[in-house]
């Protein structure tokens, strides 16, 4: 229990850090941030419009710490400002549209790559030096060395444009109305295949490498020798004794990779114009929509912290030594 509370405390601090970053960054721009943001267009804007932007950014003439307090209270009230490029939609609304897609793509690709990757890593370590072990881990290392967006581009080119097997943009057919109809759900699935496959391919090597290394360490332990001496079946030893222990450092390390995997999803969303938080973030940067950028960054961070927290709770279920704390 103490363990879980400690982790929660840490995630709250991380949230606060991201929040503060969102506050500081616009104020780092030299001069009047609003003018800097608007740039050359600013001269053609009316005073009212510029003031609206200032308000959207939360800028005022009040002392800095006062602005900060106001900023933080707004966030906890669910107000992240107003999007400039999607004016007058509030930032939270824009985040809401993207959150679901990012989660769908992220969780589906994570699940598949984690399961497949761990199995390959387990079996590779178990049969070290075999044909399987000599081919599979290096193969996925090779695939993973390519930039994710490069593989995405390749997938779009071959499977999307040449063979026309899969659609190459968006999360679902534009002509369909969103809903729980089988038509729409099928379209969603159809659009999910390519981006998910690319995400899985790129990230597989991380899980394979981690699990394989953990297994190799665990296989050198005395309790594995004892389990072999007990004449248990190979599967029982491999899964019940070796993998069961090898997965523990994998779970704790999960969090570190989670950030880079979900963060890297931005690139895949970009190539496939998949309307998740990453895609929206890049578009916001293009439109210099600073409130939206900050809000999206916060949204992505919250997603990552949330999944991290879930994994931590899972860890207490899986390692009885931690439960004792």
């Amino acid at each position: 229990m103490k363990y879980v509370l400690r982790r929660l405390g840490f995630y709250l601090i991380a949230f606060w850090a991201a929040l503060t970053l969102d506050f500081i960054l616009p104020r780092l721009l030299p001069g009047d941030p609003a003018a800097a943001i608007l740039g050359p267009i600013g001269s053609r804007m009316t005073e009212a419009q510029i003031n609206a932007l200032r308000q959207a950014l939360g800028l005022s003439d009040a002392p800095l710490w006062e602005q900060y307090i106001q900023f933080v209270t707004h966030v906890f009230q669910g107000d992240l400002g107003v999007s400039y490029s999607a004016f007058p939609a509030p930032v939270t609304q824009v985040i809401a549209t993207g959150f679901g897609w990012t989660l769908l793509l992220g969780l589906s690709s994570l699940t598949v790559s984690v399961i497949v990757g761990h199995l390959i890593g387990i079996y590779g370590a178990w049969r070290r030096g075999s044909a399987f072990d000599v081919v599979m881990p290096p193969l996925f290392n090779f695939i993973g060395a390519f930039p994710s967006f490069f593989l995405a581009l390749g997938a779009v080119y071959f499977l999307g444009l040449q063979f026309k097997w899969f659609p190459i943009a968006h999360a679902a057919e534009d002509s369909l109305t969103p809903g729980l109809t089988p038509e729409y759900l099928l379209s969603v699935l159809h659009h999910l295949v390519l981006p998910m496959s690319v995400a899985v391919l790129v990230n597989l090597q991380v899980w394979i490498q981690t699990m394989r290394n953990n297994m190799i360490s665990v296989l050198a332990e005395d309790y594995i020798t004892m389990s072999e001496a007990k004449g248990l079946t190979q599967n029982r030893i491999m899964f019940g004794y070796a993998a069961r222990n090898a997965i523990l450092p994998s779970v704790t390390g999960f969090g570190i990779f989670l950030g880079s995997i979900l963060g890297g999803q931005v690139l895949i969303e970009q190539v496939f114009a998949y309307p998740g938080l990453g895609y929206l973030l890049v578009r916001a940067v293009g439109a210099r929509d600073y409130p939206l950028m900050g809000g999206l960054f916060l949204g992505i961070t919250v997603g990552v912290l949330l999944i991290n927290f879930v994994v931590d709770i899972l860890y207490t279920r899986v390692d009885p030594r931690v439960r004792a704390e």
């Binding site: 050198a220 332990e221 005395d222 309790y223 020798t225 004892m226 389990s227 072999e228 001496a229 007990k230 004449g231 248990l232 079946t233 029982r236 019940g240 004794y241 069961r244 222990n245 523990l248 899986v318 390692d319 009885p320 030594r321 004792a324």
Partner: protein, 347 residues
Amino acid sequence: MDTNTAPTPKKDVVLDIRDLYVEYLTPRGPVQAVDGVSFTIGRGEVFGLAGESGCGKSTIAHTILRVLRPPAVVTGGQILYKGVDVLELGDEARPAVDGKPSWSLEAFRWAEVSMVFQSAMNSLNPVVRISDQIIDTVVKHWKVTPKQARDRAAELFDIVNIDKRRLDAYPHELSGGMRQRAVIAMALALKPSLLIMDEPTTALDVVVQRDILQQIEQLQEQLGFSILFITHDLSLMVEFSDRIGIMYAGDLVEMAPASEIFSNPIHPYTQGLLTSFPSITGERRPLTGIPGSPPNLITPPPGCRFHPRCTKCQPVETVAAPRFEEVLPGHWVAVHAGMPLPTGAKG
């Protein structure tokens, strides 16, 4: 090292190791860890194997169950368990031949020969309950239901005097002594004929050590299994064993009933070992110990591996390979020409 004829066959021989050679393949060359060792263990006998760290005793123990880790390779000899060579066992059970049973390696392990490892904490799966670690073995070998296996586990806990309520504990929740007893219980689960104990008490404090050994003694008298007892603590072994074998640098240098080793050590290494231990009773005498350090087993000394450190034998550059012979009834020594022997001994 040359061995003579095979040791005298006895009627109830459980384990018969003949001319065993084991190597470790390292980048700097193969390490000759076990160099032609032979001995037998009879039914109900406690055989102690003693020697310094690295002498090969633990290697032999692991090889009997074929769980020696890479980069180890068995390069010669036989390990006959009830007449069947363990080194020839494979994935599938072979048909019985000459009335001798034959098992698959998986079936042989634990049901016929089991092992108690040095550190109980390290030999138990830290994330699985003790009960489950016993149950999975019993279910696999005896093909019973988990409930029946659990009853067996409870039975075992009774035998070793652990409260049955601790059955579902995790290893880290037990005390050191309880863990060691749990591991012994596990080793007896399938009623093996031979129990190998690899330094079972080294990690425990002296009081608990005594306790455990007494327990083992009782169990052994009750259930009648043989024990291969491995330790570097000679004084511990002398009380506990029926016969003792002394190993040095991969060779067996002396083998005799326990009392004789203590009262009449013949090989210079054994003599050196006995003078290395202070005795609480009796006269004070100077601790002499053995000068030098164990040899490099990639390029061991030619002939007798002990000769660079030996103070008794004639100073010779190299000695012809010693032969393991029965110099007194039941008393075997690795002898070579020119070695001082007590009167009445065959040289």
